[in-house]
């Protein structure tokens, strides 16, 4: 089964759960920036939660079905239509040969995830087909190129009956409250005023936002440490370069870095941030490690529970 890309848009790429066990080689993690929406898109089709999906950024993207099958969409509302019939994210649906699935532009959120039964097929590179353009790794051709007009994507899973998200599960991951931060790393080097400002001020998502990182604009944060010996940086790390404007590091970040950090967003907060358009105003809130670990385990258990209830 296959589909053909008719419009590739600004940035659409094949993403799965990303690479693990290779960061010591300098190879980044990659994978879906909003991993929660990706998991739900896969869940809708009964796929493994980290099966390869298309991450569609901002829209202007369309595909034509070359066979009868079914697909699922989750994440950002990019005004998707199937032959001009609106497709609300958070459901799977049948698609017939010749039908056009289009994503216009953002109504809510930034990244939509398109899933196919069993996941889209691509040869894994270093254990994953996550597309990382900068590293020339992964994707449909294995060389890190994003998806392009004329690319044909295949899958081999059996179609499943159309379904929707479980009742009460929000369709959108846009943050409704402050983003949770696990404090740590060089937090002790920041001035008291900077720590107060970090968690009691509005932060605006800058235009400079991509899969490597998202810059936040707000009060200037000052660290006593100007530079440090480079060290590994985790997903969601909030690094503060000398200009005092924090950058939250996402999936395609460099593996090591030398700017002082306040800590790191929780995985859920990373997914929420990945859905924030430039200009979005948000806040950060510190959370205790124990409760953050508990929350993350609870979140991961959601899919097991809903799968068991199926």
């Amino acid at each position: 089964m296959s589909l053909l890309i008719e419009r590739a848009g600004a940035m659409a790429s094949l993403q799965d759960g990303g690479r693990s066990g290779v960061r010591h080689l300098g190879v980044t993690q990659g994978g879906a920036a909003d991993w929660v929406s990706q998991a739900w898109a896969n869940w809708l089709l009964g796929n493994s939660l980290q099966a390869a999906t298309i991450e569609i950024t901002l829209g202007n993207f369309s595909v034509r079905a070359e066979t009868d099958s079914c697909l699922a969409v989750c994440g950002a509302d990019l005004k998707a239509t199937l032959d001009d019939q609106p497709i609300v994210p958070g459901r799977s649906f049948a698609i017939r040969k010749g039908q056009l699935l289009s994503f216009a532009q953002p109504r809510e959120g930034v990244r939509a995830y398109l899933a196919a039964p069993g996941g889209f097929l691509a040869t894994p590179v270093l254990g994953s087909c996550a597309t990382v353009r900068r590293e020339q790794l992964g994707g449909l051709h294995g060389d890190g190129r994003p998806l392009d007009t004329g690319d044909r994507l295949r899958w081999s899973g059996a179609p499943a009956a159309p379904r929707e998200l479980p009742p009460g599960q929000p369709r959108s991951l846009s943050p409704s409250g402050p983003l949770a931060v696990v404090l740590g790393a060089q937090i002790g080097d920041f001035s008291g005023q900077s720590l107060f400002d970090a968690f009691n001020s509005d932060w605006t998502v800058d235009q400079r936002a991509d899969r490597m990182g998202v810059r936040l604009l707000g009060p200037v944060l000052r660290s006593a440490r100007e530079s440090m010996i480079s060290e590994g940086v985790p997903l969601g790390a909030i690094q503060v370069p000398p200009d005092g404007q924090p950058i939250v590091l996402l999936n395609d970040r460099q593996t090591i870095g030398g700017y002082p950090r306040l800590g790191a967003l929780t995985p859920l907060a990373v997914a929420q941030l990945a859905q924030c358009m430039p200009g979005t105003v948000l806040r950060l809130k510190p959370v205790a490690l124990e409760s953050a670990q508990r929350e993350q385990r609870r979140l991961l258990a959601t899919w097991q529970r809903t799968t068991a209830e199926r």
């Binding site: 693990s20 190879v27 740590g184 590994g232 985790p234 969601g236 490690l289 670990q293």
Partner: protein, 234 residues
């Protein structure tokens, strides 16, 4: 040896072994890397060694913070430095030339060594790989002779060609892929550093020792190098 352990994320701990960059750290870093891998087994998602630290990314669904710390304590119990049996020696051919290394002549002037002196000095030392990072197969090596130490460019270049050899402070490195970069470029190597045909994908690992062998343009071309001159505009 007991590292300092810091929380750096919901499922990540930083182990600080040293406070300074030193070639003497490496046997300890290599031994610790090995022992932490063994202690975590399948609960390890990723382990990122750098000059003085190990970033441990563990699987939150199988162990929690307390258990992760216990495994780290176990890993460091009775730790002895690795003799370096696993470390490899590399001889990397480099065409040191102003056309592919725009900072070669300025560095020659500033140091008083001249371009030839810079080449001699840079290629007469055996460097240690301290860490891989920044890009796949990008090895941070040191320590470069004090006289060659150069701060990063004020404005990083948007595109540095693959194979470019650079200096930043007392470190030296080769860009494995075309990428942005702010290091002072003094030459170019034809050697493939990161390739899925290579065993383990990367030519080198932390702890390996590296010597640069000056070659001329003809040899560079013969070894498959791309001699496209460097565009001076950053």
């Amino acid at each position: 040896m007991t590292p300092r352990i810091e929380v750096v994320g919901v499922d990540s701990l930083m182990l600080r072994l040293f406070d300074q960059i030193d070639e003497g750290n490496m046997p300890w870093m290599l031994a610790a890397t090995q022992r932490v891998r063994e202690a975590f087994g399948p609960a390890l998602r990723d382990l990122v060694p750098s000059y003085t630290t190990l970033l441990v990314h563990y699987d939150l669904t199988t162990i929690d913070d307390r258990q992760a710390r216990q495994r780290i304590t176990d890993a460091f119990e009775g730790l002895q430095p690795t003799a370096g049996a696993s470390a490899r020696q590399h001889e990397i051919p480099v065409w040191y030339d102003p056309s592919v290394g725009p900072e070669l002549e300025p560095l020659g002037k500033r140091s008083g060594l001249g371009a030839t002196g810079v080449i001699d000095r840079h290629s007469s030392h055996t460097y240690q790989v301290f860490a891989l990072g920044f890009a796949p197969g990008f090895a941070f090596m040191g320590l470069v002779d004090e006289i060659l130490a150069s701060p990063r460019l004020q404005t990083p270049r948007k595109q540095v060609p693959a194979g470019s050899l650079g200096i930043a402070d007392r470190q030296t490195a080769i860009y494995p892929l075309v990428s942005p970069g702010g290091w002072n470029l003094i030459g170019r190597s034809p050697t493939r550093l990161f390739d899925r045909e290579l065993d383990g994908y990367s030519l080198w690992q932390p702890g390996d020792r590296v010597r640069f062998i000056p070659i001329d343009r003809a040899e560079f071309i013969r070894l498959g190098g791309d001699d496209t001159p460097f565009e001076v505009t950053p």
